[in-house]
Symmetry: C2
């Protein structure tokens, strides 16, 4: 791998302090004495705690953001060494797994210490969130803590929608890495190569070009289009006339890209060429509409107008610490675009029953309009060797 | 990649039917009229539905296992094409994302159709589970459904502990792939190579050797040992005297391996050589104790006796569709070993304050004792080039 200039890893303490201050301002308005966080992205957003160990479901992890002051981590002992490398200073640990409720007891004590009696504690509960804690433990916690656990008034989701410059730099880097991998696809994909081998080799290209890891790769290949966009690879070899689509979410320093590319095995059928050009036109229309103050629904309409249909699914979404984040680009979404938002534009088109094409790019909203984070594809579908 | 014989992908319908029948027998004893499943492993266990699309948190997914008859899927429309390739025949879809509670309404109707009034529906709620549904939606569902939603009496977790032959074959394959990648580590790791480059290249080796994807890689390197085992890679170059540890959970056909290997950069210090040999001896003692009828706690004690300490953390765990599954190998775990269980043996040893070594192998329990799924490491730590 050739050396390239990459943004530094991790953020300065000030990045997290600013996030906490914004959260605390919103907590004050919502009447919340603390936030209780349990999931990977929520914990990392306020602490910078980055590990793939979340893959193990055994142990719960907690971060408490009080109404004033720094967050407090209440975590299994196995995570102490790494959490002490974060900016947090108050890190409380419990043995896990262990018999009994050691972690819940420590969390309960911490919550009661950090909040006044009778106050309310917000837990992310809205769209796209989940509680990373067994339901039985959740019930125990609610019984144990002499505070009212309520929803977080969507505070964490709303904050995460608007990225800092440092966050946009990571996503831009992830996009650049994926772009280089896509540019090398002709090295690994041609007629006769099984789709699962293309998937495997493409992930290797992503890593070779600088991905930290490749949490997401989907795609499909079929004559003149494909049936869905979320399937794992089959062993069917690519064949002349196929349209191959790969959609990757790779990670750089904890931030995702999420875009795809379509390829034709040999010269495309006229309807495929037209469909691809139409998707690019729709994407450009979405890009042009993506200005501060526009609604997410406006982007949907701009793309749907070009497509000439009203797709039932969304035509894009937020992007950042997770492969997909809110809000969705759907007709009914009235949330306004704000500088710092990072979005995917993802129009789709039906070429024939059971044969679709989907295109996707990543953009960021600035004060003056959108900028491309992925290098936008040309109207002409790329052609791979079919012999 | 050379061609190798791999187990076929996916399971026959009979595999899933047997799982459903076992679940239904336990549901009858627990007085449950249905199971409601929301998470990736739970849904896949009963359907075979395999996709990386779970990386997107936007949409909920539901599978209902009734007291008799086949499971019913209640899923977003985007998943219909892939779910129709599973053995399920009753697949109900809703638009998502969408305003309102379309998915919850369809799920509620389905639950009421499949269960008698006044009955109880089990939801996995115990250790290592989570509800993959926003808390606000969970509250809405409980209000809407005229049934009692209770815990699942640990039925799904208990079933998943005992693997079928087809499942063990997948885990064995994942272990073999990782074993080949570890054998090639000298190609990519030597003094002077930054740890993050080793991580990246090792994931490429895993893919080249046949991994479908690499959800987990952790590791560390430090002089004479390392401080923790869950950190992502730093950019610090490997140096003579370092112990390098890589711990990977790669996936083949939806099943994980989870084991590590330690390497010394140049000849190991005597205390490192001794520690490694002790870890191997402890692993072998755990293996020897791993017979049907033994308790998980017996394995802990067998390993702890060799280590000469009583580590606070666990010394292994279940393994399968997830990187880590229950039960844990801890002193207080009385669950008996049963043929078909797949476990990791994972002893650790402190070489000095802040310097540890961890070793890990994967085994399966058979009628007559344990078998190795990973090819067990030798007592001598492997040596990498230090110049």
């Amino acid at each position: 791998m050739s050396e390239r200039v990459s943004p530094p890893r991790g953020f300065p303490k000030e990045e997290y302090q600013a996030r906490v201050m914004r959260a605390q301002a919103l907590m004050g308005r919502a009447g919340l004495a603390a936030l209780l966080l349990t999931s990977e992205a929520e914990v990392r957003y306020f602490t910078g705690y980055l590990t793939r160990f979340w893959e193990s479901p055994t142990r719960p992890w907690f971060v408490v953001v009080p109404a004033s002051g720094d967050p407090v981590a209440v975590i299994p002992a196995i995570g102490a060494h790494l959490m002490h490398q974060s900016w947090l200073r108050d890190i409380r640990t419990f043995a896990a797994p262990a018999p009994g409720d050691a972690g819940l007891a420590l969390l309960g004590d911490t919550l009661e210490e950090l909040t006044p009696p009778g106050s309310r504690i917000g837990v992310p509960s809205g769209p796209e969130t989940y509680l990373r804690l067994p339901l039985a433990d959740w019930a125990r916690l609610r019984e144990r803590v002499a505070r009212v656990l309520v929803d977080d008034a969507n505070i964490v989701a709303v904050l995460r929608r608007v990225k800092s410059g440092a966050e946009v730099a990571r996503i831009t880097q992830a996009c650049a890495i994926a772009g280089r991998a896509f540019a090398r696809l002709p090295e690994i994909a041609r007629a006769g190569v099984p789709l699962d081998e293309v998937f495997r080799r493409f992930q290797m290209l992503c890593l070779e070009e600088g991905a930290d890891w490749v949490p997401y790769l989907a795609g499909a290949a079929g004559p003149g289009g494909y049936g869905d966009v979320i399937s794992p690879a089959t062993r069917v070899p690519l064949a002349a006339g196929d349209v191959l689509m790969l959609d990757t979410g790779l990670v750089y320093d904890g931030y995702f890209c999420d875009f795809d590319r379509n390829f034709s095995l040999g010269p495309p059928a006229p309807e495929v060429a037209r469909a691809h050009a139409r998707l690019i036109e729709a994407t450009r229309a979405g890009f042009a509409a993506a200005r501060p103050g526009a609604r997410h629904g406006d982007l949907y309409r701009a793309m749907a107008d070009v497509l000439g249909t009203q797709p039932e699914g969304r035509l894009g979404h937020g992007l950042g610490m997770q492969l997909t984040e809110g809000p969705s680009i759907v007709a009914w979404e009235e949330a306004p675009l704000v500088p710092g938002m990072v979005l995917t534009l993802e129009p789709c088109i039906d070429v024939a029953p059971g044969r679709m094409l989907v295109h996707e790019e990543n953009i960021a909203i600035t004060e003056t309009g959108a900028i491309w984070l992925s290098h936008p594809a040309a109207a002409e579908i790329q052609i791979l060797e079919a012999t």
